[in-house]
Amino acid sequence: MIREITFGQYYAADSPIHRLDPRIKLFGTLIYIISLFVANNIVSYAVAALFLGIIIIISTVPVKFILKGLKPILFILLFSVAFNAVLTNGEHVLAKWGVFVISTEGLIRAAYMGARLIMLIMGSSLMTYTTTPNELTDGLEKSLGFLRKINIPVHEMAMMMSIALRFIPILIEETDKIMKAQMARGADFENGNIIHRVKSMVPLLIPLFVSAFRRASDLAMAMEARCYHGGEGRTKMKPLQYKRADYTGYIIVLVYFAVIIATRILFKNVLHF
């Protein structure tokens, strides 16, 4: 099950988007998310969709792959669209049944909500598809570096994140192993009602936790043995350095944001909400 989720994975390719500095990708994603909330009419949404489409094409990540990432949020998506559609009061009521009202405004609102969520997930998953986890943590560490001044341990958090990422496959393998070992001794993970199945996870989780703690203590010792002593005085093997393409990237993102704001002001009466 864990392997099926594509959201948050890396898609290896060599595109201009892949080569961008992780910081500009983080910044771009943040601006894109903000822009989706700034957008309030059909024109702004069209611009946002077009922008995303162009980036997807440049990134060479298959659209199918990106759409697969929407699967886990399908339920939330349908839920919020449906609620917006039937619970919004408006002037043009089309149907009414008890507390449920279907109005033109409600339908527009639901459509926008759906589009916003879809673009939000597609936009942010595009970032993880085109950025390796390592680059991502490096980018986060560097762009949030200013927080260190107010005593937020940015380096330590980034280190934790990258170690967590490294241990995900190891822990999945371990879960598999423990599961098989317990099944060989007659454990049943597949049958029975939900309570029964949750209960049957206990003999799986306890050994997993114990071994995770043991690993953590081993790893801490290995890191200390290799002179790890926090972020102070640390150099980088692969330091982040802006190239010309990155500056162009920043300009494009800012221009895009300006366009969204302009469309919000200029077309505020076109199918807005």
């Binding site: 390796t132 986890p133 390592n134 990258s162 170690i163 990422l165 490294r166 496959p169 190891i170 690993r215 081993d218 790893l219 010792m221 290995a222 890191m223 200390e224 043995a225 290799r226 002179c227 790890y228 002593h229 005085g233 640390r234 150099t235 980088k236 093997m237 692969k238 330091p239």
Partner: protein, 298 residues
């Protein structure tokens, strides 16, 4: 470089009446149990030596090894690593730079998500400039023969390869001495061979002092010196042929001898005049040929 201390020349690692207690405390922080892991040990390891430390589980050999990297500090006594006292906290980084450490579980000591990044981890920690990091990483990957895997994820490597990456990570920091704490315990025979031949190469070609902790006897026959530990004490010390000639004593310490030595020992017990302390198959065949020739001569 030997350091002058107390008027005598010191080896790269020297301990003086080293003692370490594991202290178990209950919830109220009262001492519940004190277990002595290392009991007044004096050892002296010279630069460039290949020393093996043997001992069964709980003999204190791993505890001793952790002192050599200042991961543990002595309860009593002193340990000097390249002339630096480990109880002085300013020496900590220098000691860890000088004496690298490789652990048992290959998965639990690799930090990077890509091989080359892991090898560079130690160098990043001690603040080496980027260009120098790349140079050292390249060289050490070549030294352990892992350069072709540099862009791979460590999860895709075999156990022996992972241990070689771990060794490269230590070698990259240009240590004078590498302490290996049962590096082959979790490996299959071919992985074990890979790791041991890498260690030997580093010792011979690059003159790095090796301290190998193991309980596989086959790995130690080429060591310059063997130290046998039991219950926190050094009970035997000497060259391999000397140590392995005392088969009964080793057995009483719950240690095995290499298969060939065992065979020679059994033959001698049955009355064949095979010399004690035979370590390799070649040595034994030579011995047997001599005996056969002597028999025919009669």
């Amino acid at each position: 470089m030997n350091t002058f201390k107390n008027g005598c020349i010191m080896g790269i690692i020297k301990t003086s009446r080293l003692l370490y207690n594991y202290i178990k405390r209950d919830e109220e922080d009262n001492i519940e149990e004190v277990k002595r892991a290392v009991d007044y040990v004096d050892i002296d390891i010279k630069e460039g030596e290949f020393v093996a430390i043997l001992g069964h589980n709980g003999s204190g050999k791993s505890t001793l090894a952790k002192h050599m990297n200042a991961l543990l500090l002595p309860t009593e006594g002193t340990i000097w690593i390249d002339g630096r006292d480990s109880s002085v906290s300013e020496n900590l980084l220098e000691i860890r730079k000088c004496a690298g450490m490789v652990f048992q579980n290959p998965d639990n000591q690799i930090i990077g998500t890509v091989v080359e990044e892991d090898v560079g981890f130690g160098l990043e920690n001690i603040g080496v400039p980027t260009e120098q990091i790349w140079k050292n990483v390249n060289e050490s990957l070549d030294m352990v023969g892992m350069n072709e895997y540099r862009k791979k994820s460590p999860n895709k490597l075999s156990g022996g390869q992972k241990q070689r990456v771990a060794i490269a990570g230590v070698v990259a920091m240009r240590p004078k001495c590498i302490v290996l704490d049962e590096p082959t315990a979790m490996l299959d025979p071919s992985g074990r061979k890979e790791v041991i031949s890498t260690i030997k190469k580093l010792n011979r070609e690059d003159n790095i002092t090796i301290i190998l902790i193991t309980h596989y006897m086959e790995e130690v026959i080429e060591a310059d010196r063997i130290i046998v530990m039991d219950e926190g004490n050094v009970v035997m010390e000497g060259v391999p042929s000397e140590i392995f000639s005392k088969v009964e004593k080793l057995k009483s310490l719950r240690l095995d001898v290499p298969q060939v030595t065992e065979l020679a020992y059994e033959l001698r017990k049955r009355g064949l005049p095979v010399k004690a302390g035979v370590l390799t198959i070649d040595e034994l065949t030579d011995e047997l040929k001599k005996i056969k020739a002597a028999g025919e001569h009669k």
